[in-house]
Symmetry: C2
Subunit: 346 residues, 2 copies
């Protein structure tokens, strides 16, 4: 089985790749090759050096021939321009998110049309497809049958791609499925241009001893998932068989990954409880209307029934999310930011 | 005011153009120029000869410069590849429906970005955006907040374009609004490649003395609108002001044009009642699974609240639809197909 991950050296791409290299199988079939496609490949990446891994570097739209030079069994499409940059540069978002996804779908379709395997395509979409339209406010609890009325260019592009994946699947060109990712928190590494970036930053930066700005009022409710749960969700959706039985996927509906609903105030209180006042005081709340408009338009509470039917569950609570971050990224926590391990959450 | 109608020499385009030439105003402003853009222009068309009309002939995507050579105030985008041809030729539909609409939106956006007027764009969508997904059957009554899960390429392309119109509007690039057309019946003229074409053909052909095939079981329920009501709906949506007041349009939701729900059996019974047994016996019912699959996936009953708020109403009953067809197209009715005028519907 040859698996391709676009955005393979992005934060989630690397985590999905590492999980696959650990498991060595998907859908019960051994992973022969793992192709990581990305514009940037970190120097000295251990992933890139793995004997099972092939690296395809460059703009996706220019590397399709290389990706499809040998049959693609599973395509996990994570590459994307993020929300704030799509809002700032409309053409960039349309090209990077819509046109590139369509080109990938057409390349996958060409493979099956030429007699090759019908690629399984996992498209990573986003909670940003939802928004509160002036004529149709979001319901208090959102599910996959809720009409997405995106209030951002990014959300529109994601929703359009979801529909294309469903249509290419209905036509039999690909076997597509859509995972709608919740805001992932806590992301490691550096801030990115996602409007939701602060939902990691307000935990990650203080833990590393740096100040952080929270650009929304603390009463804002958000729907989050830890990186671990997000990776589990992507792989489960990749593995799901088609059909109408339990644990199977039928039709063209996306799957919203399970969401933990918290307020920003609860997130900050968790940080204070776990890491103490000195760390929590590194966060300054300075609302930014542009960020509040985007993130505040996303739903905060979900009906997780479809994800539950696949065996997926949300994070237990936000403290478990912070604990997992600390456990997975010990180097990103400044000495003295945390009490002794036994004392965390005591 | 310079108004452009794409598909301007199509059946609906001509009717909208004639209505505008009769009214001479839109939104209270005189119509200075009416541009009819179409691939085909009928020889000797009286519309083309009207002194207020400019004709732009050719593929839309190659005629954008000509269309936008002078400022466009209102763009009524009716041109489209129809459902059955989109299902048969996927690439044709993606190009004619999705790419061309996006190119039009980008040309409109370029006009406003260059300091010209922000064009009002009326996009004609379709009831075909709705379909019954295996995991999410259509509700018995459908409204604009119902999630469209199209089960045809045409419906997917229309839904994607609706979302682009909403997004270009949210960004302020255009002032877009979407009219979702019901199946129009009775269309005059020749059969086209629309899967729904028979819903006109089973009335039109027998009235002209020709045999007709009905490719669905008579129990199928459909949502129809007469040409007159459809043209009224398009123009009303073009005229609606933006805002949250009564009769105004807010946000990005489409407007489903008002629908008359009838069964095919009721349509055939109306024909028999109005035109007699000899005419009605010209219809042969021969179900075609491909057509039944497409048309049967469309909803048949609508919540017309949004259209009603704009002052629009469905046709009274199917007999009024047939009467209007006979009145508007006396030449298309064979001598002897109808009783004396006073006797119709008696």
């Amino acid at each position: 089985m040859r698996i391709v991950i676009t955005g393979g050296f992005g934060f989630l791409g690397q985590q999905v790749a590492e999980a696959l290299l650990k498991r060595r199988t998907l859908c019960g079939t051994p992973v022969d090759r793992l192709v990581l496609a990305d514009r940037f490949v970190p120097a000295g990446s251990p992933l890139a050096a793995d004997p099972l891994v092939d690296v395809v570097q460059g703009d996706l739209s220019e590397r399709l021939d290389e990706i499809f030079a040998r049959p693609v069994d599973v395509l996990i499409h994570l590459a994307s321009a993020v929300s704030a940059e799509c809002e700032a540069d409309f053409d960039l978002g349309m090209s990077a998110n819509l046109d590139t996804t369509r080109a990938l779908l057409d390349a996958a379709r060409a493979q099956s049309a030429a007699g090759g395997p019908t690629p399984r395509v996992v498209f990573s979409s986003s909670v940003a497809v939802y928004g509160s339209d002036p004529a149709l406010p979001l319901p208090p609890v959102v599910g996959e049958s809720t009409l997405p009325t995106p209030q951002s260019s990014y959300g529109t592009q994601k929703r359009v791609c979801e529909m294309l994946v469903a249509e290419y699947t209905r036509k039999g060109f690909v076997d597509g499925r859509v995972a709608r990712l919740m805001t992932v928190s806590v992301r490691p590494g550096k801030p990115n241009a996602a409007a939701s970036g602060f939902l990691s930053g307000i935990i990650r930066e203080p833990l590393s001893g740096l100040p952080a700005t929270c650009p929304v009022g603390p009463e804002l409710r958000v729907a989050l998932a830890s990186p671990r749960r997000t990776v589990d969700g992507i792989l489960r959706i990749a593995e799901a068989e088609r059909g109408s039985g339990p644990g199977q996927l039928d039709g063209g509906l996306p799957v919203n990954l399970p969401a933990l609903t918290v307020t920003v105030a609860e997130m900050l209180a968790t940080l204070r409880r776990v890491a103490g006042d000195a760390v929590a005081d590194l966060v300054t709340v300075t609302p930014d209307p542009a960020v509040e408009a985007i993130v505040g338009s996303w739903p905060a509470a979900f009906d997780n029934a479809r994800a539950t039917a696949l065996g997926l569950a949300p994070d237990e609570n936000f403290e478990s999310v912070v604990r997992a971050y600390v456990a997975d990224h010990p180097d990103a926590v400044a000495a003295g930011s945390l009490p002794a391990p036994g004392a965390i959450g005591a």
